[in-house]
Amino acid sequence: MSVAFTLNGKAITLDSDPDMPLLWAIREVVGLHGTKYGCGIAQCGACTVHIEGVATRSCVTPLAAVEGQHVTTIEGIDSKAAKAVQTAWIGLQVPQCGYCQSGQIMSATALLAQNQKPSDADINEAMRGNICRCATYPRIRAAIHAAARAMEG
């Protein structure tokens, strides 16, 4: 069975097991490696992608569920919010080991696309599903605020 969807702006059809999690289809069938495996049960957020702009855990999303949908991965983000987030991430030197950061950036970008001026509580709500074992949390929070300010200007 094949599943047709849009990945990073391009139409794509995958002839793969429709029950395969989207994460593994992206990583192993398409070959995009920025989206990471961390837990496989939607507990850590390392696998976060956007489906129709919504931050979604690709490790528990069956491939079949994205039929006809727009999927964006870390390799495909280029919105104003995404650029502001990535710039702030570098400016505030957020990453340590870096493994979770694709997922953090995808969650932060989705947050800013919906909420241009998130409060600390909004950030907690949007980001608490993304674990960082290096605990870069203070800088993630500061970088989201910085990105929000940059988007205003």
Binding site: W24, G31, H33, G34, I41, C97, Q101, I131, Y137, I140
Partner: protein, 732 residues
């Protein structure tokens, strides 16, 4: 006493081959310093075919003007690539923008960790400390050769040539050249035997908040980790390990697993049964269908509750002496007051974000390994023994690691040996194999921070002065039974079991620290900040209890006993001052303080907490002071304190691996909870401007956070937390 770990023929087979470096490590510990002998047989730097200037093993200057620093340490998030490059670049007077970093190959003859002796590896927060003089020399040597090349080209005196920000300059004739311009000529010059190093006041890059070299690729998905390594025809293996530590395979039925599309083979290896497929998802699906019968006759079947009960009984018996000062029995006999407390610590998993993984290509000629390798020399030996090769036939490509916290450095090289054994079982035919752990494999995979129990007693005189200290520690040895035992276990004392306790800095005239080493079937390992992950809690929570018992302020009580430990005292005072210690706080809020030294770095922290009427603890702020000698990069130091605090706080609040009848009860982040962003406190870091040689920052920030927070909770609630994590022992 040795640690019983699951019997593994591969591990047993490599023990003899480890003796070589063990003896060398022992010699080093005895005082031999391994020389900086990179010039060795190559007393002339040889230009390679592309005309690079390679004055030594640690840097390469290309005609395109790039300077590539060769990092002998694993970058696992701690910022080591940036720190190592900064040391080289400063002595070289390079421009930071021209610096690149690449990982060193596994080659202990060039890249040994001088703190470990003759083996290559990363750990014990030792990267900056052991590289400091080595890399200053490496950079200064290259600089001297570039100056000599310019002087020769311009026919001027070398001492009239200056270097700044990557440009070599001769002011009198107004001539200048880049490093790239001079690379070819410099490569033809002899390497000087001895070069002058900078006066620290002339440091340009050391001490600056330089941007980390590894961050841009970590913001766009291009940073490559082991999980991202792919080759044409690569196979992916997922291993079914025993459900109990020490169990072995009795038999297995691979039919259903082999029926899963994409599954190529199912093979038995010493540590379990591997399902090998064309993709991870196929291998994982195959493993789900695999049926294995286990022989658990020799397995550990106890529960952690039972093990802890045994530890409580052991704490009543004397242990091996780790420290004896004065006459403790007399001090307690004459005491006006005695304070006693027992603290209990669970097993902890490291749970780095990247589950363990390694890619192996094995054939009759050799073995090539790609992974976030933390212990190259050990891993080379273990991989070679597993494959039936010589260590020098094992080539290791060290990649970025998605965290480790110590997990990727272990004496059995578990995840690497597994990958090699699968490649061997498949016929050692040169097909690349990636062995991938799942999160469940990681949480249940053993090599935990050991379960520990600490029993402390304090004797106080009539003036409330601490005159006697009796500290008994019960728990498994990390080093026992490993190749490090000869160096690290002396007279029955594993140094890592008592570090942070046997070197208690407080002035107490009569002191006894004892260790009762236990054996269980649960494999254990160092975990970020190692012994101080429990000793700092036990000692700093107990000091607080003593201060309370004699009605003293917890800060002043500590301060008065640190006269002979000025670095502890300085950070303690710095943190207290920055946190405005002693100022009033609203109802429901409290402060706690703790100080600890680990790996030569001194950290004090003041925690400010809010305790809700329902008992829920929220940590509002941590004020942290750190003395790590010469600060190489203040922003990296700050980041490591922030990260260490978050890591340590998550463990203090929630961290626990528990066993029921030998079975690990947690499998993933749902039950093995770690800190999330909504519970991360504000962190304020103050760095001592020290002229001492630099020490590490990857681990020491973890040590004081648990006790500082517990002491703050006590300040609000009047209740001590003596059983970790808080989620279990919150109202002890």
């Amino acid at each position: 006493m040795s640690v019983a770990t699951p019997v593994d023929t591969a591990e047993a087979a490599v023990r003899s081959s480890r003796r070589g470096f063990l003896q060398a490590a022992a010699a080093t510990a005895a005082g031999l310093t391994i020389g900086f002998h990179w010039s060795g047989p190559l007393s002339r730097a040889l230009a390679d075919p592309v005309k690079d200037f390679i004055p030594n093993a640690f840097l390469r200057i290309a005609p395109d003007n790039s300077v590539t620093v060769i990092a002998k340490h694993l970058e696992m998030g701690q910022g080591t690539y940036t720190g190592l490059a900064t040391i080289v670049a400063d002595e070289l007077d390079a421009d930071w923008a021209q610096i690149r970093v690449e990982s060193a190959p596994a080659d202990a003859s060039k890249y040994a960790n001088l703190a470990f002796g003759t083996m290559q590896g990363t750990g014990g927060s030792s990267a900056m400390a052991n590289s400091w003089m080595q890399l200053r020399n490496a950079g200064a040597t290259a600089r001297a050769m570039l100056v000599a090349a310019a002087a020769q080209e311009w026919n001027v005196a070398p001492d009239s040539v200056t270097v700044a920000r990557g440009v070599v300059h001769h002011a009198p004739s107004n001539r200048q050249a880049t490093f790239g311009d001079l690379a070819v000529r410099a490569a033809g010059l002899p390497v000087p035997d001895k070069v002058a190093l900078k006066d620290p006041k002339d440091f340009k890059l050391i001490g600056q908040k330089l941007p980390r070299v590894d961050i841009p690729p970590k913001t766009n998905g291009t940073a490559q980790f082991t999980i991202d390594v792919t080759f044409p025809n690569m196979l992916v293996a997922v291993l079914q390990r025993p459900p109990l530590f020490g169990a072995t395979v009795k038999s297995f039925d691979a039919a259903a697993a082999k029926a899963v599309p994409g599954v190529v083979d199912v093979v038995q290896v010493p540590r379990g049964v591997a399902v090998v497929a064309k993709s991870f998802w196929a291998a994982k699906s195959g493993r789900d269908a695999l049926k294995v019968a286990w022989d658990d006759s020799k397995a550990e079947k106890r529960s952690t509750d039972g093990i802890m009960a045994e530890y409580r009984a052991l704490a009543e018996q004397p242990g091996m002496p780790a420290r004896r000062d004065g006459d403790v029995a007399a001090a307690f006999k004459g005491a006006a007051k005695v304070v006693t407390a027992t603290y209990e610590f669970p097993y902890l998993a490291h749970a780095p974000m990247e589950p363990l993984d390694a890619v192996v290509k094995l054939d009759a000629e050799g073995c090539e390994i790609w992974c976030g390798d933390q212990f190259q020399t050990v891993d080379q030996a273990n991989a070679a023994a597993t494959a039936g090769l010589k260590p020098e036939q094992v080539k290791i490509h060290t990649l970025l690691a998605g965290g480790s916290f110590g997990r990727r450095a272990n004496m059995g090289s578990d995840y690497i040996v597994e990958a090699v054994s699968v490649a061997k079982a498949l016929g050692a035919n040169g097909t690349p194999v990636k062995l991938q752990w799942t999160r469940e494999d990681d949480i249940r995979g053993g090599l935990y921070r050991p379960l520990y129990l600490h029993r402390l007693e304090a004797a106080l005189d009539n003036d409330g002065k601490l005159v006697g200290w009796q500290h008994r520690i019960v728990g498994q040895s990390i080093m026992g039974g490993t190749a490090f035992a000869a160096v690290m276990v002396k007279n029955g004392i594993d140094a890592t079991s008592v570090e942070g306790a046997a070197n208690l800095p407080y002035a107490v005239p009569n002191m006894s620290v004892e260790l009762n080493t236990t054996a269980t079937g649960v494999p254990v390992l160092w975990w970020r900040v190692v012994g101080s992950s429990h000793t700092a809690y036990a000692t700093e929570a107990f000091i607080d209890e003593i201060a309370k018992a004699v009605g003293k302020d917890p800060f002043a009580f500590r301060q008065a006993m640190l006269e002979h430990h000025p670095r502890h005292k300085t950070v303690l005072e710095m943190a207290a001052k920055a946190a405005d210690w002693g100022s009033p706080l609203p109802k429901g809020k409290g402060r706690g303080i703790a100080v600890a030294e680990a790996f030569g770095t001194y950290v004090a922290q003041v925690a400010e907490v809010t305790v809700a009427p329902d008992g829920k603890v929220k940590v509002d702020r941590i004020v942290c002071a750190v003395d790590c000698g010469t600060p190489i990069n203040p922003d990296v130091i700050t980041a490591q304190m922030e990260g260490g605090i978050g890591f340590g706080l998550g463990a203090a609040l929630y961290g626990a691996i528990t066993l029921k009848n030998g079975q690990v009860e947690q499998t993933n982040f749902d039950a093995y909870q770690v800190l999330r962003i909504d519970e991360m406190p504000k962190v304020e870091v103050h760095i001592v401007q020290s002229p001492e040689a630099p020490t590490g920052v990857g681990e020491p920030g973890v040590a004081p956070v648990g006790p500082a927070v517990a002491n703050a909770v006590f300040a609000v609630t009047g209740k001590r937390i003596r059983v970790l994590p808080f989620a279990v022992g919150g109202t002890a």
